[in-house]
């Protein structure tokens, strides 16, 4: 009787949870699977009819071409430089700004916070000509710095909102205790505050990194062949007369790897960081 009960539970568990999750995973992962197998198929199999869901002849030639002839490493370096620099700059300024917005009462605080949001209300294309003009006059056009500055215009406002939501949940008494124990404000911020803030900074950092890593529109305008990032380089494989599917998929496969690795190591803290400050008592 007990066994029967257990097996019924198992069936119920499988039908209501395991199976839907499996189906959802297949739905979610199939595009990545398809991207990968397209990158290792010979040309004839990419266009084969009926479709081949498993390559009959594996080839790594596309990856050789990608890293040799196409010089994909150069684009990866450019993307990594821009994404990391954007992350560092944005986190430093966002953390300080969010701390100030949360802990200090000053005139125009709410207005400034609102102003931060208003930046995200404009479509990126509207900002293109003014930004291009500014970059040009500052001699930052076609430099990674120009791109980093452009990215921070939308990563900093978002991060400030994200981090200040978290900070407001941290009791002020923690800093007060540190101050009573002899810390100055900077010391209290660095020794007490920053460690508590780690999950939130991690979440914001991953978000900023992904923005810098994947962004196309601004990068297509503010880079030249020497400073081009991955999304723009991959887009150059889509011509008027066709798409180099093998190269595009190989590039896509390589591009998602750093993001996947980041998520793998950061997922636990990422979730707590993103949800922190979401619920107010």
């Amino acid at each position: 009787m007990k066994v029967k009960h257990h097996s019924a539970e198992a069936v119920k568990f499988t039908l209501t949870l395991v199976l839907p999750v499996l189906l959802f995973l297949i739905f979610l992962l199939f595009p990545f699977y398809w991207m990968f197998i397209t990158s290792v198929k010979p040309d004839a199999e990419i266009y084969a009819s009926p479709l081949l869901y498993w390559p009959q002849h594996w080839t790594w030639m596309t990856y050789e071409k990608l890293f040799g002839y196409f010089n994909f490493i150069k684009y990866m370096k450019n993307s990594l430089t821009v994404a990391v620099a954007t992350m560092v700059v944005s986190l430093v300024f966002s953390t300080l700004a969010a701390y100030a917005f949360s802990r200090f009462e000053f005139k125009g605080r709410k207005f400034l916070m609102g102003l931060f949001l208003s930046n995200n209300m404009f479509p990126t294309v509207l900002l293109m000509i003014p930004l291009y003009s500014i970059m040009r006059s500052m001699n930052l056009l076609y430099t990674p710095t120009g791109l980093v500055l452009a990215y921070t215009t939308f990563t900093i406002p978002f991060s400030v909102w994200l981090i200040q939501g978290f900070i407001r949940d941290v009791p002020f008494s923690l800093e007060e205790a540190a101050l009573i124990d002899g810390c100055n404000r900077t010391g209290a911020f660095v020794r007490i505050f920053l460690p508590i803030l780690t999950p939130c900074l991690l979440a914001a950092g991953v978000y900023i990194f992904m923005q810098g890593w994947n962004e196309y529109t601004l990068s297509s305008m503010f880079t030249n062949p020497a400073t081009r990032t991955i999304p723009v380089a991959l887009n150059s494989l889509i011509g008027q007369l066709g798409v180099e599917w093998d190269m595009l998929c190989a590039g896509g496969t390589i591009t998602v790897l750093p993001v996947c690795i980041m998520f793998f190591f950061a997922q636990k803290k990422l979730v707590s960081g993103l949800t922190a400050g979401a619920v107010k008592g």
Partner: protein
């Protein structure tokens, strides 16, 4: 504490050091010195490439020009993604932002917008004085002039690719068709006959035409319109409706793949390449793909004339010199090199694209390519859509949305044409 401050300082140093990396704002003509100390005229040239081979080809052509031209002109060629036509938007943004190139590859359809903003240089005087001008036929020059709407010659032809029909002779043979169609009715009949169930399972596995219902498909509709006596100026005439119904019936009768309403270039190419379709309408640019894929089992014929006339759309890649270019004479010298000069010859030999100028016709690549004759024949009846203010919007948005609805039977041919007329002519 020290660690944190050190990390912060490292971050700041990293970003500030990046300011020195790669910055090279090559936007306008300037003069500098070459190694011999002589003043060189520098030109910034932007282009898109359709594949990685074309990237290298363009760079090598420009390099050769820099090494061989006797006017001490130094061209810096920078590649930007085609981005489904976003290439011209990038140039527009750059010029409006105070940068951008001196000359670039260009599409006719963008001419009016650029001309309206006074961004293009009028090159009429240079063309008039050009000894090779007559190698390019008058119809093409007129097409260039008409593209800007101000009758100035601001867009210069570089390669024109008139559309024609590629077909698989083995499929024609299987369908009992003995020769390539010479009239529009024969063309429609061939589409019907080559729709076949080749393995006897009761399902169609070869479709007559790779109908391009989405992006770019409006070019194909043009041939139908003119064959039935209509044209782009008025899409609401009975002839236009008859032509559009003939077009829609290809899909509704099952002579085109189910994917036709969403098919753009890539989908139609995939269909033809995989043997799913017997015919595809495209230009010389894809001839190498077909020859490589099918060997002798591919041939071509011009889109035939109907009772109302004959017309085919031509794809184009033009060159244009921008008003901000300070040395237009140097820019025109580069243009000459790219058309009737060595640059044009090299480009043709590798891509099969050109204007049929003497340097191109003399090459063995031209003589040996069976599709070149069909392409040259098609160019005689080729044209482009009228350069209305709303042409880009019609092409990028209205066409696909409206045509998809008509193909799926959600709106009638008359209603669809009314929407297209309103969009194309801003009525």
């Amino acid at each position: 504490m020290k660690k944190v401050i050190a990390t912060f300082l490292a971050g700041v140093m990293l970003t500030s050091s990046l300011a020195g990396c790669g910055g090279n704002n090559s936007s306008s003509v300037s003069s500098g010195s070459d190694p011999s100390g002589k003043q060189a005229t520098k030109l910034s040239y932007w282009y898109w490439a359709d594949n990685t081979e074309q990237s290298d080809l363009m760079q090598s052509i420009v390099k050769q020009y820099n090494e061989t031209n006797d006017k001490n002109i130094l061209v810096t060629a920078e590649e930007y993604p085609w981005d489904s036509g976003g290439f011209t938007d990038s140039i527009f943004t750059a010029i409006m932002g105070g940068g951008g190139p001196d000359l670039s590859t260009f599409k006719l359809q963008a001419g009016k917008n650029f001309a309206a903003n006074h961004l293009l240089a009028d090159m009429s005087s240079y063309v008039e004085a050009w000894q090779d001008k007559s190698q390019i036929n008058d119809g093409i020059w007129q097409m260039m002039k008409a593209s800007t709407g101000d009758e100035k010659l601001s867009v210069l032809p570089w390669t024109l690719e008139a559309l024609y029909v590629y077909y698989r002779p083995s499929y024609f043979q299987k369908a009992g068709i003995e020769k390539a169609p010479t009239t529009f009715d024969e063309f429609l009949d061939a589409i019907k006959k080559t729709t076949m169930d080749t393995n006897g399972d009761g399902k169609t596995d070869v479709y007559g035409l790779g109908l391009r219902g989405a992006g770019g498909g409006h070019e194909h509709l043009g041939s139908f319109l003119y064959a039935y006596g209509a044209n782009w100026d008025d899409l609401t005439t009975p002839q236009a409706v008859e032509a559009y119904n003939a077009y829609l019936n290809i899909f509704k009768s099952g002579y085109a793949p189910d994917s036709a309403p969403n098919a753009a270039y890539a989908e139609t190419v995939d269909g033809f390449k995989s043997g799913l379709t017997a015919m595809i309408i495209h230009h010389i640019g894809s001839s190498a793909i077909w020859s490589e894929t099918f060997g002798d089992d591919v041939a071509a014929f011009p889109v035939p004339a109907g009772k109302g006339g004959q017309w085919t759309c031509t794809g184009d890649t033009c060159l244009t010199v921008y008003e901000q270019c300070e040395n237009k004479e140097a820019a025109f010298d580069f243009y000459q090199y790219m058309t009737t000069g060595e640059g044009g010859t090299t480009w043709f030999k590798s891509t099969g694209k050109g204007l049929g100028t003497e340097n191109v016709v003399a090459t063995s690549e031209y003589k040996d390519n069976k599709f070149q004759t069909v392409a040259a024949e098609s160019l005689k009846h080729a044209g482009v859509l009228p350069p209305t203010d709303t042409l880009t919007e019609f092409i990028n948005s209205t066409w696909a949305n409206t045509n998809q609805q008509a193909l799926l039977g959600q709106i009638s041919a008359e209603d669809a044409l009314k929407i297209m007329q309103k969009s194309l002519h801003a009525e």
